[in-house]
């Protein structure tokens, strides 16, 4: 299906929003305005924007530390993203979890734990429910390439293959799992090869090409909605910064970083939209202004939100016992 100009503009908005928010969050962390940790995905934005744009409210996404952009594109209000990072009372998790555990129930964004790969597994369980409930909702399940070596990831894909669940498995292969290179994590060149073992298609695409991530995801999502089963999409990409903000990423070379910076997904997409006349300079300026304003409002909301109070420590441990 050809991608309409409205879709392209929507994708452009989210691509720019995710990039700008991420860079802003890094600054906020460095300024000490929130604490704990922050996992930047700058350089990888096209993966999450392409796979989450256009999902329905009732579709689920299973995300983890690096997928803030997925939550934003799915529609999680920016103010709650910020309140989550700031661990405030108005955070959807009420300050209970820790920064970068974005969750928002009205849009099926599952609040994650830290255990790598679990988000994929839980989202697969949602897809099992959709099958039982005879719904055509889709679960988009994210992991990094590192997580694909975790046993439970295999259990989930195996089960989804057996039951042809409405799942789209997005593997963001950014070449590194913290400090461990993909060459020491996965014995195959393309993680997508692993799909064969579960009886569904796997494809490897350029994760920095928003056209490719969007179109491939749309195909997989439609396939899942039709009840034809899961697809694994490996998106090759790269994170520009360290694993988290405290990681100087000394394990990689400057050349590698430069190579990938030349493949920055943001100007690449923008340039094509300009060339096609979908957007122009003034549209770009207006979009940037809107985004800056939205981010400022969100930060303001988070900073004004009260801190949780000590007595809340026991809230939400249990629902009432029956």
């Amino acid at each position: 299906m050809p991608v309409s100009n409205d879709e392209l503009k929507g994708l452009y908005y989210y691509l720019t929003l995710v990039r700008t928010t991420d860079e802003r969050c890094r600054r906020l962390f460095k300024q000490g305005r929130f604490h704990g940790t922050y996992f930047s995905a700058v350089g990888q934005e096209a993966t999450v924007v392409g796979s989450c744009y256009g999902l329905r409210a009732e579709d689920t996404i299973g995300i983890q530390h690096r997928e803030m952009g997925a939550a934003i594109t799915k529609g999680m209000p920016l103010k709650y993203i910020m309140a989550e990072l700031f661990a405030r009372k108005d955070s959807p998790d009420r300050g209970k979890s820790h920064p970068c555990h974005y969750g928002w129930k009205p849009l099926g964004i599952i609040t994650p734990a830290s255990t790598i790969a679990a988000q994929t597994v839980i989202a697969t369980g949602c897809a099992l429910a959709y099958k039982i409930q005879k719904k055509d909702n889709v679960a988009v399940c994210f992991v990094g390439e590192g997580a694909t070596s975790n046993g439970v990831w295999h259990e989930a894909l195996n089960f989804a293959g057996v039951h042809k669940l409405n799942c789209v498995y997005v593997v963001q292969n950014n070449l590194w799992a913290e400090s461990v290179p993909a060459s020491l994590g996965v014995p195959v060149e393309d993680v997508s090869e692993r799909a064969k073992a579960y009886g569904f298609p796997g494809v490897t695409i350029d994760g920095n090409d928003l056209f490719a991530t969007y179109e491939t995801s749309q195909d997989a999502i439609r396939r899942a909605r039709r009840g034809e089963g899961p697809t694994l999409i490996e998106m090759k990409t790269y994170r520009w910064y360290g694993h988290s903000e405290i990681d100087p990423a000394n394990y990689r070379t400057q050349e590698e970083l430069e190579y990938w910076k030349k493949r920055d997904p943001v100007p690449r997409f923008e340039k094509i939209l300009m060339e096609r006349g979908v957007i122009d300079e003034s549209y770009k300026q207006a979009t940037m202004q809107r985004i800056e304003r939205e981010i400022e409002e969100a930060i303001d909301f988070a900073e004004k939100s009260p801190q949780p109070e000590p007595h809340e420590i026991l809230e939400d441990v249990y629902a009432p016992l029956v």
């Binding site: 689920t60 299973g62 955070s91 959807p92 998790d93 009420r94 300050g95 209970k96 979890s97 555990h101 969750g103 928002w104 129930k105 599952i110 609040t111 734990a113 830290s114 255990t115 679990a118 597994v121 839980i122 989202a123 697969t124 369980g125 949602c126 897809a127 099992l128 429910a129 959709y130 099958k131 039982i132 409930q133 679960a139 046993g151 439970v152 259990e155 989930a156 195996n158 089960f159 057996v162 809230e315 939400d316 441990v317 249990y318 629902a319 009432p320 016992l321 029956v322």
Partner: protein, 344 residues
């Protein structure tokens, strides 16, 4: 060793519309009735569908509810529980079955990090109503890897409800409560009790509340706190001691987390002596918590130290018959500990 059928119903007032059934029949019937009542409930586990489960706890359910509500799963314990967490947040009430407690270690991430913490970690947005059924326990000749009783591991997991019934009445009533709440419940069923224990079960719908212990035998001299198989052996010991003039009060915990401190303390206030009888190795077992709680909140009631009666600190349960025989405390060992506590 012969199993004594001394178990009384925990709640007393059962009424007249009762039938007698075994512990496992009560579980099967509980599942059946709950699935009939609420079509969001589904079962998933290894060999549970047409085969009816390795102990036949799910017999007949596949035929009645079909393949979308009684699902045979691959051997994927970790997925079983984590997938169930996903299904729960998507609006269903899953009941994954872990075939033996000895394999539950493969599902710990799902139980502890996800099921138990989903509500807390999401600030109450997501809840995780689910009933993880798990068969456990020694005294069936299962050896080291088909006998374990790992309840104590999970008593350290706030957010989780851990129950284990001793009678058919409680087996069904606790199961029903587990399916009717919003919390993840780890429902531990003792395989030795499946067919050795029969008892009255109402023919009408009823529930047994979670988090409430039951005084199953009243007494004045000493409180014995136990559950499941060890409860039956404790009751047997209490009968023996009655003949000697020792009047034992016996409490069935029923819910191990969050457990009923009030009932325990009230009893210890009356008797001034406490013995905790539990399955699985001694150190950091169920008795460690109960004993510490009594020492902390009921010290002034006590006329004797709290005693723990349990297997030794060896893995549960060695296979060779003489070793197995020496492993779990029997009624004599329990009675001896009670005598010493009363004589202190």
């Amino acid at each position: 060793m012969k199993m004594m059928e001394t178990a009384k119903s925990a709640t007393g007032a059962i009424g007249s519309d009762v039938k007698t059934m075994s512990y496992i029949e009560a579980i099967t019937e509980g599942l059946m009735e709950e699935m009939q009542r609420d079509e969001r409930i589904f079962l998933i586990g290894e060999d549970i569908a047409a085969y009816g489960g390795v102990f036949k706890a799910t017999r007949g359910l596949y035929e009645k509810f079909g393949p979308m509500r009684v699902i045979d799963s691959p051997i994927s314990e970790n997925f079983l529980v984590q997938g169930a967490v996903g299904a729960a947040i998507a609006g269903l009430i899953p009941s994954p079955e872990i075939q033996f407690d000895d394999f539950i270690s493969l599902a710990v991430d799902g139980i502890v990090e996800h099921a138990a913490k989903m509500r807390y970690r999401s600030g109450g947005m997501f809840t995780c109503p689910m009933v993880i059924r798990c068969c456990y326990g020694a005294a069936v000749g299962g050896g080291l890897f088909h006998s374990q009783a790992n309840q104590a591991w999970f008593m350290h997991c706030p957010g989780l409800v851990v129950v284990t019934p001793a009678t058919p009445y409680d087996a069904k009533g606790l199961l029903k409560s587990a399916f009717r709440g919003q919390n993840p419940v780890l429902y531990y069923e003792h395989k030795r009790l499946y067919r050795t224990i029969k008892g009255p079960v109402p023919t009408h719908d009823y529930t047994v509340p979670l988090g409430k212990a039951a005084v199953v035998r009243e007494g004045q001299h000493v409180t014995v706190i136990s559950y499941a198989l060890m409860l039956h052996r404790s009751l047997e010991a209490a009968e023996k001691l009655a003949a000697e003039g020792i009047d034992v009060e016996v409490i069935d915990l029923r819910t191990l987390l969050p457990y009923d401190k009030e009932t325990i303390l009230k009893s210890v206030e009356k008797t001034a002596r406490a013995v905790v009888v539990y399955e699985s190795s001694k150190t950091m077992g169920v008795g460690a918590e109960i004993g510490a709680m009594i020492a902390e909140d009921g010290f002034s009631f006590l006329d004797a130290p709290v005693r723990r009666v349990s297997p030794p600190d060896a893995p549960q349960e060695p296979f060779a018959p003489p070793l197995a025989e020496a492993y779990l405390p029997d009624a004599n060992r329990i009675a001896e500990a009670i005598r010493e506590t009363v004589a202190y």
